[in-house]
Amino acid sequence: MTDLYQSQRAMRQMRRQAMQRGVVAILDIGSSKIACLVLRFDGSSRLSEDNSIGSLAGQSGFRVIGAATTRSRGVQFGEITAMQETERAIRTAVQAAQKMAGVRVDHVIASFSGANPRSYGLDARLELEGQEVSEGEIAQVLAACEVPEYGADREVLHAQPVNFALDNRSGLADPRGQLGQTLAVDMHMLTVDTGTVQNLVRCIQRCDLELAGIASSAYASGYAALVEDEQELGAACIDMGGGSTSISVFMKKHMIYADAVRMGGDHITSDISMGLGVPMANAERIKTFCGGVHATGVDDRDMIDIGGDTGDWEHDRRTVSRAELIGIMRPRVEEILEEVRARLDAAGFEYLPSQQIVLTGGSSQILGLDGLASRILGQQVRLGRPLRVHGLPQSATGPGFAASVGLCLFAAHPQDEWWDFETPVDRYPARSLSRAVRWFRDNW
């Protein structure tokens, strides 16, 4: 536990260094593409007093000066399976982004979607020593959270205090300086498989880059695709990527649940490939240009050239109707959405005051997906796109870049995590002195 605490603090330190240097790279390692954005921080724009994001969404302090995407290789289900290949793909993306930005980047903030994320809700309660809540006591109460047995080969990726309660007042965002007797905290903790994270870290190190932060792409895309009121009132962001579909539930501007379904757009493509007997590249092209999930009468007459390069004229001139294509795609999309529904039900999503569902990610661009999703997931479904940030090229504004943009926001204004607070103060010897002083003051 302390190991993780130290390593996460080291990453935070690295992020601070990167901010001082003014340049940091964002690396979204997905199953179908690797996106690299280079951010330049010019001037520190503070969040407004009430901690709301503000009219510029808190992103006025940075600018995207380099952007590059490359086809991902060696990544399946959001996990690295062939490190050499992934390393080469990362190098390609980073090099192109550096070339566009014209600066050398040393610090990288990465996100990934796989590694079986699992959410835990923790809480703790602390009797305050004085009347006033100090920062040390917040650290103490965070440290007092009872951590469940999450397994030896798993690691904590996020541990964010979601809610503070002081005596019987709940829903405090920042209890520092307030008066009360008992401080209670609710914390959301996300764990992932250790091996996957270690592979990722190793891979980035092999590219001569320093890791300045790591985030779950479910968290990042929710951060970017949900608008402010959705984050406040409660909403689920479903990022339909290539190899996995990640789910994050936000409430009061904090992520309270995250999960991932190990199915995505690549599975739809492979279904088409198998069903029509065409190569994956062709299947991908057919899916993007002609795919859909709602068959209408005209689709029976809409013939699609599915092609092939065998040299056999008859084989290469095959056609299918669009209805057939939809007949192949729809069951898989339904399966993914059913699985998402199951995960959301397990998380108790129906008890949230607002049940908005936002679909984003590359696969959310399938025609008619929102209609299908509203049948399965509920009425409040919309397709989400990430926020606009300064300097982001037009080609990187689609829903497939939600996680990348979310990482930009994460890099600029990270939410408080457990390791942002100092180690619980009772470990400091200086504390005993102040305790003695207080004892004197109280008794005389």
Partner: protein
């Protein structure tokens, strides 16, 4: 099954877009600001310095470069635009102009780079008859010298002979004969040239004496004697000699003091002006007194 190494190899026509590790590192290296700066400025600078050093390492080449530079400089100096051909002297009489030309042994034509105008001016101003001089190079290659001469105001007779002085007492020229400047007043005595201004004031005061005035004599480096014809003298005090002379002249006009047979009027002590008569006058006076006494 294909080998693991070849598994991810692309086909030949589909180039792998990934940069090799070396290329990637090189690009990152080249994007480092220090390296960029070094390559942009440091390397060309080093190359230029090295080339220059290698060229100048040989002594004969250094000499050649030096010769070329000197030749270039000489060619510039000797361009007709920079040559001075004529010297023009304005405001000086022929003798002074002759003196000026003698003082400056310039061989024309000469390059204006070789002329030191300040030194020429000092040389000319060190000449006695020259009060001030302006030296400049006029367009057209003319060395223009504007001279203002000293105007002689006094003649000073001393042990060496006669000398002309201007109104400040500065030496203007030697004078051969008094008759060459009959209009100028004459002074004599040691260090008389140091108080030329006072002498001029006395001459202005002594104008009523007319042609009787012969000159002024400086006595003991401190006071003046006015010398008139018939050997008469007016001995002036050290302080306020002009007022004393005015008194003598006024007395003389009223009582014809100087017309009488007086050898000297001594005004050295203002409270006690004294008149010294000539020897003959004294004898005459005695005789007249005897006659008058005898006649009584």
């Amino acid at each position: 099954m294909r080998t693991l190494k070849g598994q991810f190899k692309r086909k030949g026509n589909q180039a792998d877009p990934a940069p090799s590790r070396l290329k990637y590192r090189l690009q990152r290296w080249m994007l480092t600001p220090g390296i960029r700066f070094g390559l942009k400025y440091g390397v060309p600078l080093c190359l230029m310095l090295a080339a220059g050093g290698a060229f100048l390492a040989d002594g004969s080449r250094r000499e050649m470069v030096g010769d070329n530079l000197r030749a270039l400089w000489a060619a510039i100096e000797e361009r007709p635009e920079f040559m001075v051909n004529v010297m023009a002297i304005d405001g000086a009489g022929t003798s002074v102009a002759q003196d000026v030309r003698e003082v400056m042994p310039l061989e024309f034509p000469v390059s204006s780079f070789d002329l030191d105008l300040a030194q020429i001016r000092m040389q000319i101003e060190s000449l006695d008859p020259v009060k001030t001089a302006n030296v400049r190079i006029r367009p057209g290659g003319i060395l223009q010298i504007d001279v203002e001469e000293r105007r002689p105001a006094l003649i000073w007779r001393n042990h060496e002979g006669l000398a002309l002085l201007d109104d400040t007492g500065a030496h203007v020229a030697e004078l051969g004969r008094r008759a060459m400047h009959p209009d100028l007043p004459l002074i004599a005595g040691e260090s008389a040239d140091l108080v030329a201004a006072e002498a001029l004031a006395l001459f202005a005061t002594a104008r009523p004496l007319g042609t009787r005035l012969r000159g002024l004599v400086r006595i003991g480096k401190r006071r003046w004697d006015v010398v008139l014809d018939r050997g008469q003298r007016i001995m002036l005090p050290q302080d306020q000699p002009v007022q004393a002379l005015e008194r003598v002249i006024v007395v003389s006009e009223v009582q014809d003091l100087l017309e009488r047979d007086v050898a000297a009027v001594d005004m050295r002590i203002a409270a006690r002006p004294t008149v010294r008569m000539t020897e003959k006058a004294v004898e005459n006076w005695w005789r007249i007194r005897e006659m008058n006494e005898g006649g009584l």
